[in-house]
């Protein structure tokens, strides 16, 4: 599906030129640590964008502060590196006032969920037309290694020498609780999956939240190793695919079912009948939420990736635009004069 076929991108100008990944590379030197997972994501995004066929100047990346938030500098599009946690708010003003832009937000687990949690939630609830890429490395990278709101309990970091006593957020659950219309999760190292998810996000009208598990090899190396290691990944990862029964394990020997008490559970070897079929388009987010709860925060066993939810709800942008249009255009300066005069005037000669 190219951009011209994506209704959500209707208003964004297209190009006929053939674009390459390198067209999206800016002249700025990339300044992440060697080995950082951010490189893989950058490369994936740069390779993915040409498939949309949008005019480069109509794409904007807005970010907050953090290692991840350096992202816009490396993209040869418009870009705004803002302040900590506020990117969704800033991007909201841009997106609502400029329907001809494809607006992407790049943020980190601290930026999006700690200081910026409120803006993220409100963007989701309003369904502002933003594609939000949340690089979750479960640590504060840029400030050199404090725990974040997604760090596992008991984590020992610079600020928690005795181990963190915080219970972490699950970004997918949080987003679903905040009325998100599109929520997905993917992994820095899985280029194909990442690209697929980016495509679905781009095609979505409204806010698309994409959580990307990202390795910070300096301060939290191997955080997602169980999901990457050849020995464990098949047993740990649940790949959600719309319309497919949810089975996993190297030989599909595990499955997700709904149980008698209403709970969604994973089981070993189950008969077909009971296996839950994934419905990303279900109006009710209840099952998607339940799927987000399967993962073990520490071992990462039963971690679902893919698109949890993707439903249609008019974007805030569209509804706001419709009100503008309904209001009509003023009849030039006559109207302005009428407005400021109001009904009660008198004349002094």
């Amino acid at each position: 599906m190219t951009a011209s076929e994506i209704p959500a991108l209707d208003l964004v100008p297209k190009t006929d030129e053939v674009q390459k990944a390198k067209d999206f590379k800016s002249d700025q030197e990339v300044r992440w640590c060697p080995g950082c997972g951010d490189y893989a994501i950058l490369a994936a995004v740069q390779s993915f964008l040409p498939s949309l066929g949008l005019r480069r100047e109509n794409i904007v990346f807005v970010s907050g502060i953090g290692c991840s938030s350096r992202f816009p500098y490396y993209m040869d599009t418009y870009g705004l590196h803002s302040i900590h946690g506020r990117a969704p708010a800033i991007a909201t003003g841009l997106s609502v006032s400029r329907p001809d832009l494809s607006v992407w937000v790049v943020t980190g687990d601290g930026d999006a969920l700690s200081i910026g949690g409120n803006h993220l939630m409100h963007a989701l609830r309003r369904n502002v037309n933003l594609k939000i890429l949340l690089f979750n490395n479960r640590i504060y990278g840029l400030t050199k290694g404090q725990y974040s709101p997604t760090s596992e309990p008991g984590k020992i970091t610079k600020s928690t020498p005795q181990g963190s006593v915080d219970h972490p957020f699950n970004p997918v659950s949080l987003a679903l609780g905040a009325e998100a219309s599109f929520v997905a999760r993917t992994i820095d190292s899985d280029r194909r999956h990442l690209t697929e998810v980016l495509g679905a996000a781009a095609a979505h009208e409204g806010t698309a939240l994409v959580e990307i598990y990202q390795n910070c090899n300096i301060f939290n190396d191997g955080a997602f190793e169980p999901l990457k290691d050849a020995g464990t990944k098949d047993s740990h990862l649940i790949r959600l695919q719309h319309g497919q029964p949810i089975r996993f394990g190297s030989e599909d020997e595990r499955a997700v079912i709904r149980d008698n008490d209403g709970q969604i559970r994973t089981v070993d070897a189950e008969t077909d009948g009971n296996v839950l079929v994934h419905d990303a388009h279900a109006e009710d987010p209840g099952v998607a939420f339940a799927l987000s709860r399967l993962a073990d925060t520490v071992s990462l066993d039963r971690t679902a990736i893919g698109i949890f939810r993707d439903v249609q709800r008019p974007s805030y942008d569209r509804l706001a635009r419709e009100q503008l249009e309904q209001a009509g255009d003023p009849a030039g300066s006559t109207d302005l004069s009428d407005l400021i005069a109001g009904p009660d005037t008198w004349t002094v000669a």
Partner: protein
């Protein structure tokens, strides 16, 4: 017919419970007075609570109007007439009444319980405490109920119309027209014909009561004021500000985006603008102040006129993002309708105590131009001027209004919109430089040599793709730079850009009719009226005094120092502890005297007269803040 006496001006204060409709009554009286052709000025004063408990002091809501047959400057120091709908209203306001003033009380509400509830030991109508005033005891409630007996309304509904009875009575007493009020009621209660009829009847009954009762022997007349020719309307500061924004947006040719979060007394600007989408105005009620300014900044990045409105606590929250805007060098208008502080303070009262927050409330060297209107109607022009600066200099601008301007009203000569300045903005659409190889390139921080403004190149412009951010940028290219000398240069350049605005603003002008004054009173913002009124009174008494008023607080007009140095003494009255005074003293090394009040209310001009006069005559200066050693820090 009764006797009619002429008055050159009158101050009336309507006071009652929050639920008594005093704001509406005042509003209607104002409207009639405006259309009659008087000059006028109003001061609403209402509690922070939505409906404070009936009959209590904190629940009193008041509205003061000053109207005259000549141009006036303030809502008046002391009312000539107090309308007190209950004991609480009497108690809360009686001390302000002018000597020999008139009190109209609603006796129905002066029950023993009601009187005691507000702490009166005895009924003030009976204990002789009102002796020095001319008191009219009128059972307003029962008269209204009586007049509406034949109407199809409940007793409660009938009682509620007592404010219209009072309005009718006062309209008669001061010979005000009531047609407009009739129209207004018809519009308002169009769908409830019984209520409409009852209110119209109550209005009528009040008027007739004045005409027929013996209690009132004289009717008053206040002639039309000789205002400059033109078409006029009555306007509050918040409304004028809203219209100024609409007009400015139109003159720039761009859309406007208001990102904001409700807060008293700024919310009405949101309410007003949300009704004018047809002028290309998008209003966004954000989740908080930070998101409000953030969204406005994002829209500005996209090429809209970004605006955010707030009051003091909200401005504090916006600090960090405002700093980002200074670093990004994008146009943005931040409107602070100041209220009493610190913290939640006195949310419905007025104050000028955010000036230094506006100047300095950001990390690092982050200069922001500041504009302040001086009267309700002037809010219109201040908004336009602020947007001129923001767009031409690519900078956030702060506009400081206050609670008094916001809700106060005055007659306003409606401008011809064609005469407003042309603010057409042109975005950069082409490369503005060449690289080492002679290829055309776009440099987002290559400045206009005149204004030092950087180009405004918005997303969607092919070939000008670029990235900006809050980290220090290299001169010209805008690439991230940690170079020490570049930083020093950029810090100074941003400051120089803001300082340079002084070249495009009118010089500070002095009002000194005789040209012989050696004392200058310097003000800013909403104190204009009280200061001007005080200066006029002083001149009327045969002394000379000069007045100058700052519309631009940052930068100051280029001639400010020169002007101030011409006077033996400069006096700066402010509704804070001396904030402008600090800036003036620090910059010009002039021993300006600060006269400060932080009472949540505008200055009374009589008080200013006293203060200025004692300074002129070299009498006791104890009323001045000693701005030297002891107290200013």
């Amino acid at each position: 017919m009764k006797e009619t006496q002429r008055r050159s001006d009158v101050v009336i204060r309507f006071a009652g419970d929050s639920g008594d409709g005093m704001q509406l009554t005042g509003d209607r009286f104002t409207s009639a007075t405006a259309s009659f052709g008087n000059d006028l000025s109003t001061l609403p004063d209402f509690p922070a609570e939505i409906r404070a408990p009936a009959g209590t002091l904190p629940g009193v809501s008041a509205f003061q109007i000053h109207f005259a047959d000549h141009d006036i400057m303030t809502p008046g120091d002391a009312p000539d007439v107090l309308v007190a709908m209950n004991p609480a209203a009497l108690k809360a306001n009686i001390d302000d009444l002018s000597a020999n003033g008139t009190v109209i009380v609603n006796t129905d509400e002066f029950t023993k319980r009601a009187v005691q509830k507000v702490g009166y030991e005895a009924n003030p109508l009976e204990d002789g405490s009102l002796e020095k005033f001319s008191v009219h005891e009128i059972p307003l409630t029962s008269l209204t109920v009586g007049a509406l007996e034949s109407f199809d309304v409940t007793k409660k509904e009938a009682e509620r119309a007592k404010n219209m009875f009072a309005l009718g009575l006062l309209s008669w007493l001061y010979s005000r027209p009531v047609d407009q009020t009739r129209d207004f009621l018809t519009e308002k209660f169009g769908r409830k014909p019984e209520i409409l009829a009852a209110n119209l009847a109550a209005l009528e009954a009040g008027w007739s009561f004045g005409e027929t009762t013996e209690a009132f022997e004289v009717q008053y007349e206040v002639g039309k004021a000789a205002l400059p020719a033109g078409v006029y309307r009555n306007i509050t500061g918040n409304l004028a500000l809203s219209y100024g924004l609409v007009a400015a947006a139109q003159r720039t040719g761009l859309g406007m985006f208001l990102g904001t979060y409700p807060i008293t007394p700024a919310s009405d600007i949101l309410h007003e603008l949300s009704r004018h989408k047809r002028f290309g105005i998008t209003t966004f009620q954000a989740e908080d102040e930070i998101a409000g300014i953030g969204a406005a900044l994002g829209a500005a990045y996209g090429g809209s006129i970004g605006v955010t409105t707030t009051s003091g606590p909200g401005l504090a929250l916006k600090s960090e993002t405002l700093g980002l805007a200074t670093a990004l060098e994008l146009p943005l208008l931040v409107i602070d309708v100041q209220r009493g502080g610190p913290s939640t303070g006195l949310p419905t009262k007025t104050e000028q105590s955010d000036l230094l927050q506006a100047m300095f409330g950001r990390n690092g060297e982050a200069p922001v131009p500041i504009v302040a209107p001086q009267s309700p109607g002037d809010c219109f022009y201040a908004a336009i001027e602020a947007i001129r600066i923001a767009t031409q200099y690519r900078t956030p601008v702060l506009l400081l209004s206050d609670g008094y301007l916001a809700n106060g009203a005055e007659p306003w000569r409606i401008p011809d919109v064609e005469s407003l300045p042309d603010l057409t903005v042109s975005f950069t659409t082409e490369p503005n430089d060449t690289d080492a190889k002679g290829e055309p390139v776009f440099h987002p921080f290559l400045r206009d040599p005149e204004t030092l403004a950087r180009p405004w190149a918005i997303p969607g412009t092919p070939g000008l793709e670029h990235r900006i951010g809050g980290i220090e940028k290299a001169d010209v290219t805008g690439a991230i730079s940690y170079d020490p000398d570049n930083h020093d240069y950029m810090v100074r350049t941003r400051q120089a850009k803001v300082d340079g605005i002084a070249h495009t603003i009118e010089p500070l002008s002095v009002d000194d009719p005789s040209g012989e004054a050696d004392v200058l009173v310097l003000g800013w913002g909403s104190t204009y009226g009280p200061i001007a009124a005080a200066c006029r009174k002083i001149r009327d008494s045969g002394l000379q005094v000069a007045q100058a008023h700052l519309r631009h607080l940052n930068p100051f007009p280029a001639n400010t120092g020169e002007v101030l140095r011409q006077y033996r003494r400069v006096i700066i009255p402010e509704m804070n502890l001396g904030q402008l005074a600090l800036l003036i003293r620090g910059k010009y090394l002039i021993d300006a005297r600060a006269f400060n009040q932080v009472r949540g209310l505008p200055f009374r001009s009589e008080e200013l007269v006293e203060v200025i006069r004692s300074e002129m005559l070299g009498e006791s200066t104890t009323r001045f803040e000693s701005l030297t050693e002891e107290s200013l820090a």
